[in-house]
């Protein structure tokens, strides 16, 4: 077994008194495509947000690429990480947001070149070439000069994916990437993610309500319930023969709905 690229070791997350994640153990292998499903409030998004360092952790340790994410080793002890460590760790991860979160005052091209230039120190030319390559990948070459507000939701989310990829992360986090989209625009975004999953050896961790899609692209599906992984397995196992009653209940509800 290879070393997991993401490892949660008894991770706790509390908002005040409310326990969102309760000693969560969880891991993702390099190149693995993992989907997290579950009812809202089950802590699915929190897992991604803690990985992206947008949410602090209340207990336990998260390892990314073998190194603690929120901690640094000092004299053999783990101490809370400083900004420099967090910044270094962050470069391994990219995130796609439910609400896209594109920079509305920048053109599509500028959205894609800003961070590579400022953070990675690429030249204008290099950043531009990288951006154009990615726009081709997501099928938006002719929209480079537009502002996000001039694009459809689906197009914006494809830009969001390209923007995250421009930093060449090893791990891509997708936080309900199609939940804010009109139904007819979901397909184009899922197609882009599907291509990424098939053609690249990126590690992908996705929270989604698109069950059919999860089944199609995932190596493993995890069912989250009340801050715990209630059940996990290959899509076949989980969708066709769920062991837990709670999983069956959830799947019945969402599949009837969709």
């Amino acid at each position: 077994m290879t070393e997991p690229i993401i490892l949660f070791d008894k991770v706790v997350k509390k908002f005040g008194e409310f326990v969102v994640l309760n000693e969560l153990d969880f891991h993702v292998e390099p190149g693995e495509k993992v989907t997290i499903i579950g009812p809202s409030g089950s802590g699915k998004s929190t897992v991604l947000r803690m990985l992206m360092t947008l949410e602090t952790i209340s207990g336990g340790v998260i390892y990314v690429g073998g190194q603690p994410l929120w901690h640094e080793k000092k004299n053999g002890n783990l101490v809370p990480a400083g900004q420099a460590h967090l910044r270094k760790m962050r470069t391994q991860l990219g995130m796609v947001f439910q609400q896209f979160n594109l920079f509305p005052h920048m053109t599509v091209l500028r959205n894609l070149t800003e961070a590579p230039r400022v953070v990675l120190g690429l030249s204008q030319q290099e950043a531009r070439e990288r951006a154009e390559e990615l726009l081709k990948l997501v099928g938006l070459t002719e929209h480079a000069g537009k502002f996000p507000g001039q694009l459809s939701g689906g197009q914006q989310q494809r830009v969001g994916i390209a923007r995250a990829l421009a930093m060449r992360p090893k791990i891509m986090l997708f936080d309900e990437p199609t939940s804010a989209l009109d139904p007819e625009l979901v397909g184009e975004v899922l197609n882009v993610i599907r291509r990424l999953a098939e053609e690249h050896d990126l590690t992908m961790l996705m929270v989604t309500h698109e069950m059919r899609f999860a089944r199609e692209i995932s190596d493993r599906v995890c069912f989250f319930d009340r801050g715990k992984i209630r059940e996990q397995g290959t899509p076949e196992e989980l969708f066709t023969a769920p062991k837990e009653e709670r999983t069956r209940e959830f799947l019945r509800a969402v599949l009837e709905d969709g």
């Binding site: 979160n101 920079f103 996000p148």
Partner: protein, 231 residues
């Protein structure tokens, strides 16, 4: 006689009005200049205050908050007198016009800083999160992602302060600035006719503020076209 121009009091009110119009227009020009300079100071210093107030360090944000409160909660006239009469005792002598415009600008920077701050806080959290996920440093995030979205949003609100500043310019007459109202008062003092010059000041003010307001509205309409969502 004023500004080397003479008034005509012998041929009825229309002729009198016509003869003092050029003087009032000279005063109007001063009013506009003081408003523009004051507004510029308020825009720049207000932004500085807003940035300092949103600093994470208390030692930075607290003094900025204090300055804001001080500027906002003391009368313009007190600040004006202070700049005009007290500063020269310490060797800082500014021309009356500059003193007045500066006082206006400082007082209004307290208001504009609150407007800027509201604009900064109105930038969605997702923007900060996206910048963080891309590892863009906090300062760069502020200058290149938050501010460019915050400032256009507050332009209409700032513009309203331009109109307010214009209406406060007559206060500068107490430190001898020859703005429009002061000109009208001098004309009245010397001709014993206050009705005509003061009515004209009112009319000219109305035209000025209406023009300024429509300018602000034009900006309000044209800004979203540049890719910045205002709501």
């Amino acid at each position: 006689m004023l500004f080397g121009l003479a008034w005509n009091t012998a041929h009825g009110e229309a002729a009198f009005a016509l003869s003092i119009l050029p003087m009032l227009l000279i005063g109007l020009l001063v009013t506009i200049e003081a408003s523009v300079v004051g507004f510029f100071v308020a825009m720049v210093f207000g932004l500085v205050l807003a940035v300092l107030k949103s600093a994470p360090l208390r030692i930075v944000s607290w003094p900025a908050t204090f300055v804001t409160e001080f500027l906002r909660d003391t009368p313009l006239l007190v600040q004006l007198f202070f700049l005009y009469y007290v500063l020269p005792e310490y060797g800082i002598v500014l021309p009356a016009f500059l003193t007045g415009a500066l006082a206006l600008g400082l007082q209004y920077s307290a208001y504009t800083s609150e407007v800027y701050r509201a604009g900064i806080e109105a930038v969605p959290r997702g923007q900060h999160e996206a910048a963080k996920a891309l590892d863009i440093p906090p300062r760069r995030t502020f200058t290149h992602i938050v501010l460019p979205q915050a400032v256009p949003r507050v332009v209409p609100a700032l513009g309203n302060y331009l109109v307010s500043i214009m209406k406060d310019v007559p206060v500068l007459s107490v430190v001898t600035v020859l703005e429009m109202l002061n000109v009208a008062k001098i004309i009245g003092d010397q001709t014993f006719d206050y009705l005509v010059p003061l009515s004209m000041v009112g009319a000219l003010y109305l035209i000025l503020t209406l023009l300024a307001s429509s300018l602000v509205r034009m900006l309000d309409v044209s800004l979203p076209k540049r890719g910045i969502p205002l709501r």
